[in-house]
């Protein structure tokens, strides 16, 4: 008797978030949660705590619960094939957010998000422009093996490889967090302090750590050493306002509304393109002050 939820009861949507270690992810979660409330859906939310196996299990359990649609923010590009197949067999549409999976397109309904490679490329273009194509760069990578790390590195290199005077002189992982970012930057400065023109960070948290390290080293971040990062959390805007950070490429986490639009389309039987680009921006230091108050996360 529990099976049929009744036609007029609200649609149930399962949202599987891969983890919540960064402000960015929280913003994404809040966006999906908030929008569910606005549109009157019942949201089943699960956080996999950075463990892919947890995430697969969560999606399985959404299927077992008989949800009407699934929003999936995948931990990693690969590995979701079997469970997506299960969802497909059960007739549940899956909308991917913020990260694409390396599966056949018919395994999911659509993907909403930006492209990590694209982000790295845009970032590199800004750096090239602001340094005149000549810079020694220190790179703070994300967690080794993580997709954003690999793609943001790749995208960045795609562009700067065309400029012989743009060189990555140091590159280490800062694990996407502030503490490690600061520690790594400190070591970089000890090793090559006078030879670093630019720091490229795979996310904002590491950039904030790096900025602190540069200040403590006695240089002026944003001037002596230019700092660039990806994501666009509010703290990064504050750093730009303070003149410490030179530019961010946004990767918007506010994907909730678009995700529900997609699900509604799926329920209505419409066909959407397999990739709906999210609305990302590129923000330079000079514009930061005027924008900061509108940042939500």
């Amino acid at each position: 008797g529990q099976q049929d939820a009744g036609a007029d009861s609200p649609k149930v949507v399962g949202f599987s978030q891969c983890d919540s270690q960064q402000a960015w992810r929280w913003a994404e979660t809040e966006s999906v949660q908030g929008e569910a409330a606005v549109r009157g859906y019942e949201l089943k939310y699960n956080d996999a705590q950075a463990v892919q196996a947890n995430q697969i299990a969560a999606v399985r359990s959404f299927i077992a619960q008989g949800v009407d649609g699934i929003i999936l923010a995948p931990q990693v590009m690969t590995g979701f094939g079997p469970v997506l197949q299960e969802a497909k067999d059960a007739g549940i549409p899956v909308v991917l957010v913020d990260r694409l999976v390396a599966e056949d397109e018919d395994m999911y309904y659509t993907f909403i998000g930006s492209d990590f490679v694209w982000e790295g490329e845009r970032m590199a273009e800004i750096v090239v422009e602001e340094t005149g194509g000549k810079a020694r760069i220190a790179e703070l990578q994300g967690t080794p093996g993580a997709d954003p790390t690999i793609d943001r590195k790749k995208g960045f290199e795609n562009i700067i490889n065309d400029y012989p005077d743009m060189n990555i002189v140091l590159s280490q992982t800062g694990d996407f967090n502030r503490t490690k970012g600061k520690e790594v930057m400190e070591a970089f400065l000890k090793a090559e302090g006078e030879n670093i023109d630019v720091v490229y960070c795979h996310n904002d948290d590491m950039a904030i750590g790096a900025i602190q390290a540069i200040k403590e080293y006695g240089k002026d971040p944003g001037k002596d050493i230019l700092v660039y990062s990806i994501d666009g959390i509010k703290d990064a805007f504050q750093a730009m306002v303070d003149g410490d950070l030179n530019a961010v490429v946004e990767c918007t986490p506010l994907l909730g509304p678009q995700a529900y639009d997609a699900l509604e389309a799926a329920w209505a039987g419409e066909v959407l393109p397999k990739w709906v680009m999210s609305e990302d921006g590129i923000f330079l230091q000079k514009d930061a002050a005027s924008i900061i108050d509108s940042r939500k996360y």
């Binding site: 939310y45 463990v51 697969i56 990693v76 590009m77 690969t78 590995g79 079997p82 997709d147």
Partner: protein, 329 residues
């Protein structure tokens, strides 16, 4: 108590029974609280989703019973899966891929066991080094995640015996097979008994003329094998290799064993207990996703709280029955 005695249940298996009872209670709680919880599908999902953990925990249980610890297992799982993926990409025939994959953890386990025994080095550190090494090796194989291309894996992944609305999948079957084999190993083979002996008192085991060196090296080898097997099973689960897979899984595996009644100081523990310990963790996760309203912090608080509640219940149950025994005596 009389009843238990009639059923042939000795006082010594009380903790195990307590564990089982609490597991059932938790399961019933889930069933009462959530729609669609009592279904074959959820039950078999529980097996499928926890197969990797369960298989790893079996090896871990043996290691802990012998008085050691193996922190490398999570990394071995990931690297095994990565090795499979990379080999399929490179076109290595599947007949070679499988043995190589299974050998990886086995050989690493053997090496760690050998270092631990030969140099009398603390297992915690040797296997931590094993974990660092294995993670690094996985990254060297490929930094980015790699899909597995062979049809075999996709088929194995899709395979499942239909039971009700559930599917008894290969990971689930593998888990059950490994558990049965391990129960046999622990109870009915000399190797298994020697593991307990060494955990009870390594010095005594030496003095009693038991093959301590060999058994201890083999225990780590076995754990490595279990981890590799789990890694191989993981490929059916995700059809890919991923350098960050299985992070922190060693802690879960230890927790499975310990919840199931294995003593970290060695000498005591059962495989069945470990299975229940694994399923309890899985059950907690299932309840969390059925609930669907927990933020990550509530997930963590809930998990910790459930663990606490569970262990206290187990403790109280055992203490209660022990008290009854005394009163009778």
């Amino acid at each position: 108590m009389k009843l238990l005695e009639k059923l042939g249940i000795s006082r010594r298996s009380m903790p195990l029974i307590a564990t089982f009872v609490v597991f059932i209670a938790l399961y019933v709680y889930g069933g009462i609280s959530y729609r669609n919880f009592f279904s074959a599908r959820v039950f078999f999902n529980l097996l499928t989703d926890n197969a990797v953990l369960g298989i790893t925990a079996v090896g871990m249980t043996f290691v802990i019973i012998s008085g050691g610890i193996d922190l490398s297992v999570g990394a071995v799982i990931s690297t095994t899966a990565m090795a499979v993926a990379v080999m399929t990409q490179a076109g290595v025939p599947n007949g070679l891929v499988i043995p190589i994959a299974l050998l990886y953890g086995t050989v690493l386990g053997f090496l760690m066991g050998f270092i631990i025994e030969y140099f009398k080095a603390p297992p915690f550190i040797v296997t931590l080094a094993g974990m660092f090494f294995s993670r690094g090796f996985g990254y060297v194989l490929s930094l980015s995640s790699v899909p597995i291309v062979y049809e075999f894996y996709a088929k194995a992944s899709a395979f499942g015996l239909k039971i009700g609305n559930g599917r008894f999948t290969i990971p689930g079957i593998a888990l059950i097979v490994v558990i049965i084999a391990a129960i046999f190993l622990s109870r009915s083979t000399k190797f298994g008994r020697n593991i307990y002996a060494i955990g009870g008192s390594e010095q005594s085991a030496v003095f009693m003329g038991l093959p301590v060196f060999r058994v201890k090296v083999l225990v780590y080898t076995l754990s490595g094998f279990c981890a590799s097997l789990a890694g191989f099973i993981y490929t059916f689960y995700t059809l890919s290799g991923y350098g960050l897979a299985g992070i922190g899984l060693e802690m879960d595996a230890i927790a499975s064993a310990v919840i199931g009644g294995t003593l970290m100081t060695g000498g005591y523990g059962t495989i069945f207990g470990t299975l229940i310990g694994t399923l309890i963790q899985g059950l907690i996760k299932t309840i969390i996703s059925f609930n669907g309203q927990f933020s990550v912090y509530w997930i963590r608080l809930f998990t910790g709280g459930m663990l606490l509640l569970f262990i206290l219940l187990q403790k109280a149950f055992v203490a209660g029955t022990a008290g009854m025994k005394k009163a009778e005596g």
